[in-house]
């Protein structure tokens, strides 16, 4: 009998200790979900940080309202401080709910900040246990990161998520932060990061549309040194090996041809001949014909092969020019040729590891493109009468 009393007493004591204080009890209502971060350089040289925070009541009303674009589902809060976490405290002071970083999707860095260098702010992204490494990262072209957070996109509640989705369709997707961190601290490759443009082309696009079409190039100290945009940026990522598909249009001289290329691959071979470094890039892909404004009948194999060869030659020349431009203009190996040498000639690499920045502009690169036109779409020949150029 005594034993039972003791055990009951024991249970009561344990329960009273455990049930009264829950230190990590958090209701979802108590959280402010942090969706996007922007980092800018303020006028007085401090770090200016803005946060795009979800406003739950806004989400439900804009859904039910049907085009009630007056209500924003998010709020942008700004603070400036010496470090990221310093300004985090200030942002928390402005919010009634507790900050929750686990759902942050992207980081936007103002161009001014990027050009000053972002080495000092990167530590937090891997250290802070609340953040996830699966995050996108952008440089905002000619602007401040905050401007992007202010955009009210018609597609999504959060302009941050719009940027991430747009990036996924054309380039890196939400592994960008990891990809940048992978390139930092390796000798044979320099980091590159997608850029967003918010400068509107016409009135309707103002405050609604963002564009992801450029790539920022960084040097070893994580200072932005330049950018390439459009076709050249796609070629950059193709040679780097991260591009998955692209649309390409080539002027053949008799009219233009447009292809959709998927399964893009690259191989790089490097060789060292009497202390001269050479790299040979081979780009491959399979394509689908989308538009044919020439009189070439692609259902005829000989014609198709002739066109393929011509396209390959043209593309190879373009890619070569892009690489040359990057070599001479910025001198930063964003393609990772150094890492290719590292992999193929590891012992030779040990000698040139530290001087790669000087050697990269002298690297001789030749490009070979092997695109295959796998299908010509729904028709082979063109429908008679359409666009005949007789």
């Amino acid at each position: 009998m005594k034993r039972i009393y003791y055990s009951i007493l024991c249970v009561i004591v344990i329960l009273s200790v455990l049930l009264t204080g829950c230190w990590d009890r958090n209701e979802i209502n108590d959280y402010a979900f942090w969706i996007g971060t922007s980092l800018d350089l303020s006028e007085d040289g401090q770090l200016e940080k803005s946060a795009q925070i979800a406003v739950p009541s806004g989400i439900s009303s804009s859904r039910g309202g049907g085009g009630g674009s007056e209500v924003r589902a998010n709020i942008v809060v700004t603070a400036s401080g010496a470090s990221i976490v310093d300004s985090m405290q200030q942002i928390q002071d402005k919010l009634p709910r507790r900050i929750f970083l686990g759902h942050r999707r992207s980081i936007f860095i103002g161009e001014k900040m990027a050009r000053k260098g972002i080495l000092d702010i990167m530590d937090q992204f891997t250290r802070n246990t609340d953040t996830r490494m699966r995050t996108d990262i952008f440089v905002v072209n000619n602007g401040k990161g905050k401007e992007l957070l202010d955009i009210n996109s018609p597609f999504e509640q959060f302009s941050t998520i719009v940027a991430v989705n747009q990036d996924r369709f054309c380039r890196l997707g939400d592994t960008a932060l990891r990809d940048v961190l992978l390139d930092v601290g390796r000798d044979g490759i320099r980091p590159s990061m997608p850029m967003v443009d918010i400068a509107p082309k016409n009135k309707q696009e103002k405050h609604q549309i963002i564009e992801v079409r450029s790539v920022a190039i960084f040097n070893k100290e994580l200072r932005m040194v330049g950018e390439v945009s459009g076709r050249e940026s796609l070629e950059l990522f193709w040679v780097k090996g991260v591009l998955k598909n692209l649309y390409m249009t080539e002027e053949t001289g008799q009219g233009s041809v447009s292809l959709y290329e998927s399964n893009l691959k690259k191989t790089v071979r490097t060789e060292i001949k009497d202390n001269k470094l050479k790299a040979h890039v081979k780009l491959m892909g399979t394509g689908r014909l989308l538009e044919n404004n020439t009189n070439i009948d692609l259902s005829v194999t000989t014609e198709r092969i002739r066109l393929e060869r011509e396209l390959n030659k043209m593309k190879a020349k373009q890619v070569e020019e892009t690489i040359k431009k990057l070599q001479s203009q910025y001198g930063q190996d964003v393609f990772g040729f150094g890492e290719e040498i590292h992999r193929e000639h590891p012992y030779y690499w040990k000698g040139i590891r530290t001087k790669w920045d000087q050697l990269f502009p002298t690297l001789e690169v030749s490009v070979e493109v092997k695109l295959k036109i796998q299908s010509t779409g729904d028709i082979g020949k063109r429908v008679p009468g359409i666009g005949d150029r007789k």
Binding site: L18, W23, D24, T126, M133, R178, L181, V184, H342, R343
Partner: protein, 363 residues
């Protein structure tokens, strides 16, 4: 109190896996860079050889625990001294693991909960399984938790395939060389040496003649998982991030985002993984209480259980932060415990047993 050899397999597999995905990968990558997987293969081979010695020793004294057979081999006082060293060491290991575990849960799941609460809850569960059941209960529990853990880990590996950059594993060998690879292998080899607890467990195994295959398999499986983990971590995060993260496997699981809806899997994996740490700590508590009871000549080992648990808890709550705890692995476990307790003493045991055995046979 009898367990089968395959139950022993599950106990060892689960408790070794908990280490190989948790503490061994990051230090190995730090030393052996992208060749960490070679290091871990070497570590597996070392672990197998060491375990083979341990099995031989244990089989020779199948009906005795370490505390008893050291006294038989070296006389009462020397034998007791050696046994006491072992038990003190096991206390320190148990306390260390309990503390890192509590800090890890504190860091990963519950930021504001005091560390001691997590530790006390774990100790309460450990005492319960030992008191209510005994080693049989632990064995049955690992038969359940082990397969679950294996399946969970394999699923995360499969889902992580899309994040891999295989080129990060190249160049093989050229950047590191023989010495760093061997040095890196010491980390996991020493952790695999935890199989030395076999010397305390043989009297409880039904058929100790057939110990070789299940035990070696129980070292091989976690080694294989460690190798795959290292390959995955290096190919996902590269060597720079991979070596700086404390718990790269869990960061990697966090990184998984498959089809936009399979994400944040780390909570599930941590959940299953807690089972395996629980098994490990419970086994240590069992060994410590049973060994202490035998050492002090106490008939009922359960009487020691509460004291042993209290000592483990007390030691676990002393050190300051997580760095100090990981130092234990680097400076105490690898440098002293591995060469002395896992390799040195068992070889001496084996030789002395062989000589004594012959003498006994001759007389």
């Amino acid at each position: 109190m009898k367990i089968s050899t395959w139950q022993l397999f599950w106990i060892f597999t689960t408790l070794e896996i908990s280490m190989s995905i948790w503490l061994t990968v990051s230090p190995t990558i730090e030393i052996a860079r992208q060749d960490a997987w070679i290091s871990l293969v070497v570590a597996g081979v070392i672990g197998l050889v060491v375990t083979m010695i341990l099995i031989r020793v244990s089989q020779m004294h199948a009906s005795h625990t370490l505390v008893e057979f050291t006294q038989k081999l070296f006389g009462k006082w020397v034998g007791k001294g050696i046994a006491m060293l072992y038990i003190v060491m096991w206390f320190s290991v148990a306390a260390d693991i309990l503390r890192i575990f509590s800090l890890f849960i504190n860091q990963f799941l519950f930021h504001d909960t005091p560390v001691w609460i997590i530790a006390v809850l774990m100790v309460a569960a450990m005492v319960y399984i030992n008191y209510a059941g005994n080693i049989e209960a632990i064995a049955r529990f690992s038969e359940m938790a082990g397969p679950l853990l294996l399946v969970g880990i394999i699923i995360t590996f499969a889902l992580n395939i899309t994040n891999l950059h295989p080129s990060l594993l190249l160049p093989v060998f050229a950047d590191t060389g023989v010495i760093p690879i061997l040095k890196g292998s010491m980390v996991n080899a020493s952790f695999l040496g935890e199989s030395m607890m076999l010397m305390m467990l043989t009297p409880f195994i039904t058929n100790s003649k057939k110990l070789m295959k299940p035990t070696l398999l129980a070292i091989g499986t976690p080694s294989l998982i460690a190798v795959v983990t290292a390959v995955m971590v290096v190919a996902t995060f590269g060597t720079n991030i991979g070596s700086t993260l404390y718990f790269p496997y869990f960061s990697m699981v966090r990184f998984i985002n498959y089809l936009e809806f399979i994400q944040n899997m780390d909570v599930w994996i941590v959940f299953i993984w807690i089972f395996s740490v629980f098994i490990k700590l419970s086994i240590y508590l069992f060994i410590n209480s049973y060994g202490t009871a035998q050492l002090l000549g106490i008939k009922n080992w359960r009487a020691v259980l509460g004291y042993a648990a209290a000592i483990i808890l007390a030691i676990a709550l002393i050190p300051a932060n997580i760095v100090g705890m990981l130092d234990y692995a680097n400076f105490v476990w690898i440098k002293y415990i591995f060469p002395i307790f896992i390799v040195g003493f068992p070889i001496i045991f084996l030789l002395v047993s062989l000589i004594r055995g012959r003498k006994l046979a001759a007389s």
